[in-house]
């Protein structure tokens, strides 16, 4: 089964600096593949190995996605080849732009199964996989915690509150995986040294014949204001504590 794993390039969260005005600065932030997309890559690698198929990777973004260290890092985790949909206008795409770009690239690359992480580790909208399935007109399942391939069918499990839902769908299909599905393996030195020899293909939106206009206008991104802790410790028996807590909340809301 030929698998295409989608990954987003995001900033390292701990390097993001929140300014006094609540604005975020990414100037000193390293970049990395989004955390949950590593689960998609790992699962793709497993499926490709188990079925004698291939795993390829695809991402959308501005020139960040062409960073050598990042590309080698992704390639060392299993994909035999990666594709970058790259344009200056794609620095901070909305979910529909990303899904549209991925759909066009996927058609060009070819696939039996597309895997996405359950959400990106920056905005975590959990939208791209669903929209990608819709645009491609394919079956799509999200929140999948186990995948079994049976011929050209997929048995996907979703862990619900108290039970497990088992779904069977034909391929081609799009599946979004949760972080429970696997533990991404640490690549070996051999994997890293091999990564530099794997091909990387860059597409512009023009190459794919799509126009990628944003559907969402982003007005501003602000970090939430940190609230000062009140440092009140309520003592007494349960009824008194509840009553006193209630009083404190009432005061706050005034």
């Amino acid at each position: 089964m030929n698998v295409l794993a989608c990954y987003k390039v995001v900033y390292e969260e701990q390097d993001i600096v929140v300014g006094p005005d609540g604005k975020l600065s990414f100037d000193r932030a390293e970049i990395k593949p989004s955390l949950y997309d590593l689960n998609a890559i790992e699962e793709g690698s497993r499926i490709a190995a188990a079925t004698g198929g291939t795993l390829k990777g695809v991402t959308v973004g501005d020139k960040k996605v062409d960073d050598g260290k990042l590309k080698k890092g992704v390639l060392s985790r299993g994909p035999e080849e990666i594709f970058l949909v790259m344009d200056d206008s794609l620095a901070d795409t909305d979910t529909n732009q990303t899904a549209t770009a991925l759909a066009a690239a996927a058609k060009k690359i070819g696939f039996d199964l597309i895997l996405c992480g359950e959400g990106s580790s920056d905005y975590y909208s959990q939208q791209v996989g669903i929209q990608l399935g819709e645009i491609l007109g394919l079956p799509v399942i999200n929140a999948v915690s186990k995948i079994t391939v049976e011929g050209d069918k997929i048995i996907a499990e979703r862990s619900l509150e108290s039970d497990v839902e088992v779904l069977e769908i034909p391929t081609p299909a799009v599946i979004c995986v949760t972080s429970d599905i696997n533990e991404p393996k640490v690549p070996s030195m051999k994997d890293i040294l091999a990564a530099g020899k794997k091909p990387v293909t860059v597409f512009s939106p023009g190459d794919l014949g799509v126009s990628l206009e944003p559907k969402v206008e982003k007005i501003s991104v602000q970090a939430p204001k940190a609230a000062d802790r009140k440092l009140i410790i309520i003592e007494g028996d349960a009824d008194d504590k509840v009553a006193e807590l209630f009083e404190h909340i009432k005061q706050e809301l005034k």
Partner: protein, 383 residues
């Protein structure tokens, strides 16, 4: 992030080692240290990841990479578990490298492939009760008897004892010789009759890295286990010791960096006189000195590694790195503990483990004094 010196592969490797260390080394480090246990599982994982023979050619079971990669791996691992860093150093530089350097194809086939790939663990035996800094004092003997060497004598402070399957040891093969001449390197397999492995020594630190005695009593090993030329063992083991000194540099830099990280974080959290102690120059100047010392040593470590990778002679530089970096680590760890005060002095603190561990660095694999002798001789040879 741009790098002035490391390649993209090195940067990816660094990220990968950090991931391995966080996921697999951190969770078991404290327990291994407290129980004085050899890290068998971690060494197996190191083999799978290619860390057990980084500079050894792929053909012989290694990763076919370079000494800079070895520095990166050992530094990152030693930040949290210096015992594992030292185990890897003793295995790779002392255990594998002499065989890669002086071994015949048959020896490499038989021993190197298994150890460089991590299937087996290697050790190197030079130190004796009366020989260490003075390798010429070697009293262990090996006499030729038909197709065999017959070895008699004892070794001490041999790292990786017990866990190792393959031991390269030094023995005097020319009974009429004095000093470093007339000594040979010979490979001895665990389980050879007449070869006894002692119990791990109780040490001040490096608890999950095992060191101890080896005993040879009429121990017969095949003649073809001679490593390198007869009576020329000194050359063979100096290759391992030189490379090992780079690895010790990486352990020292890693430990010092971790000690600085702990001190800097703590100094921003600990409030005294109404402000974090990092706001006092008595503390921030210490942090600055620690950072400066670490950066200098890390840069120099890369230089020596690059010299090795370029095929240059680097014995003098390796000796400089060894004593400078190990003494730096002691100083930085001491400052870190001072900044952390009572919390640092607690027996369970990470810095207290580092404090106990670090002292070995100025002693093992060439004491600070012997390294100064090497450098002093090199200086005087020029004038």
């Amino acid at each position: 992030m741009k790098s002035y010196f490391l390649t993209e592969e090195h940067e990816v490797l660094k990220g990968m080692v950090k991931e391995f260390v966080q996921n697999e080394v951190v969770p078991v480090t404290k327990e291994l240290d407290e129980k004085h246990e050899f890290p068998y599982e971690l060494m197996k994982r190191c083999g799978e990841l290619g860390f057990t023979g980084i500079p050894i050619p792929e053909k012989w079971g290694g990763a076919g990479s370079d000494a800079i990669s070895m520095c990166i791996v050992i530094e990152e691992i030693s930040k949290v578990n210096a015992s594992l860093g030292l185990t890897l150093d003793a295995h790779t530089s002392l255990g594998c490298t002499p065989i890669a350097f002086a071994g015949t194809d048959a020896q490499k086939e038989k021993y190197l492939i298994d150890i460089a790939s991590g299937k087996k663990i290697a050790a190197f035996g030079l130190t004796e009760p009366n020989a260490g800094s003075d390798a010429g004092g070697t009293q262990t003997t090996a006499r030729l008897d038909g197709d065999h060497f017959v070895i008699n004598g004892a070794k001490c402070w041999i790292t990786n004892i017990g866990a190792a399957d393959t031991y390269t040891i030094t023995a005097r093969t020319d009974p009429d010789s004095k000093g470093p001449k007339g000594i040979s390197a010979i490979i001895v397999e665990k389980g050879t009759p007449g070869f006894t492995i002692g119990k791990p020594e109780k040490k001040m630190g490096f608890n999950s890295c095992m060191s101890g005695d080896l005993y040879f009593n009429e121990c017969r090993v095949p003649k073809e286990n001679l490593l390198g030329e007869l009576h020329q063992g000194f050359k063979t083991f100096m290759v391992g010791l030189d490379e090992g000194r780079i690895a010790i540099g990486a352990i020292a830099v890693g430990m010092a960096q971790a000690a600085l990280d702990l001190a800097a974080k703590y100094s921003k959290e600990r409030v005294q006189f109404g402000k974090p102690i990092s706001a006092f120059q008595g503390v921030s100047f210490k942090l600055a000195e620690m950072q400066a010392a670490i950066d200098y040593n890390r840069t120099y470590m890369y230089r020596v590694a690059k010299m090795r990778d370029s095929g240059m002679r680097y014995s003098t530089e390796a000796a400089i790195l060894k004593f400078m970096s190990s003494e730096m680590a002691l100083d930085v760890i001491d400052k870190s503990l001072q900044i952390q005060g009572g919390i640092g002095y607690h027996g369970d603190s990470e810095v207290s483990r580092m404090y106990r561990d670090a002292k070995l660095l100025t002693i093992g694999e060439g004491t600070s004094e012997i390294c100064r002798v090497v450098v002093g001789n090199a200086v005087l040879a020029k004038y």
